[in-house]
Symmetry: C2
Subunit: 197 residues, 2 copies
């Protein structure tokens, strides 16, 4: 599905992962359905392996089984690495859900140091390809007078992705659905949520 | 602390419990901090025993250890029974947190049948006293043209409680913080949230 317009009440899924300790093999990943960055319409979750390679499969499953799927227009994720270096393949997440995906982060990603860190893990080459497959990093200012955010996208033109980011940055320069997913994921895994996303 | 005014951005904690299966001894209880029923500011959680008697202690702990405590003005709970018949003592929750408590439900509670059901549990008399200690059940219409909601309260006059309920019924006749807590608690315990609170 091609996103052509960005309505004020556009239904968006924001995704973030929870906290994990040195002994945890897996951690929680939470998806929050919001309308236009304003109202929470639902919450879903899955679990991914710390430093594993299952983030893409688990997110595809979580989205495709959701009763909210028919209303969802776009998936926003907190970057492309979950639970350590469990790299999310945003192209495959887009292809297998049929939804556009935008991975957003607050700081300019240092791809060279991410790729260098992957050397300490198994299946380095596969992870490296997934990081590169996420494509170019764009930047945009979502709230006037605030620092920019950085994003990569799949199945959506940067020009349209930018409109989605602006529309959902209702309280902070990061999209509200990612912020709320962060509150839920850290609140549930730590007992109380931490700062911002 | 006495609540004297109900500002549009009043900081409210909404509390609801998660799903549990026949084998579960405990279930998740989630608290969502919102401003005036509009913005999510944080998420916290605890666990209570199914049909146990620890709901009050666990909620007192959860609220008192929270970094949001200094900003919180009122606690809204989904009724007075959690995880089966784990009765919440709203008077004690009020006394031990210093915050007003409003327990809200969609349908008029049938106290006689609740008290009758308690006979199948241990410490029946203690549970019965807690149910009665929650005081009279009031009703109010929070959204014009919609059915009323029913509530019990501790540490707050019904007249002021009503203002809080109206202020936080931003999308549904039940307060939005309870609805979002319901989405989070069921979403995390079942994989996806169910209908409304």
């Amino acid at each position: 599905m091609k996103l052509r317009e960005v309505k004020p009440e556009i239904r968006v899924l924001g995704v973030d992962d929870g906290h994990y300790g040195p002994e945890d093999e897996r951690t929680l990943v939470v998806g929050v359905v919001m309308r236009g960055g304003k109202w929470v319409d639902g919450v879903m979750c899955t679990e991914v392996t710390v430093d594993g390679l299952d983030a893409t499969d688990r997110l595809v499953e979580m989205v495709n089984r959701s009763k909210h799927k028919p209303q969802l227009r776009v998936i926003l994720t907190d970057g492309v690495t979950f639970a350590g270096f469990n790299v999310l393949d945003i192209q495959r997440l887009h292809e297998e859900t049929g939804l556009p995906v935008i991975a957003v982060i607050k700081r300019e990603p240092d791809l060279a140091s991410i790729i260098s860190a992957l050397k300490n893990l198994d299946r380095t080459e596969e992870r490296r390809r997934m990081v590169l497959r996420a494509g170019p990093v764009y930047r945009t200012v979502t709230r006037r007078g605030e620092p920019p955010v950085y994003y990569q996208c799949a199945g959506i033109e940067p020009r349209v992705a930018e409109l989605v980011l602006k529309r959902t940055a209702t309280r902070h320069r990061l999209p509200e659905p990612i912020r709320v997913a962060h509150f839920v994921a850290t609140g549930v895994t730590r007992g109380e949520s931490s700062g911002g996303a």
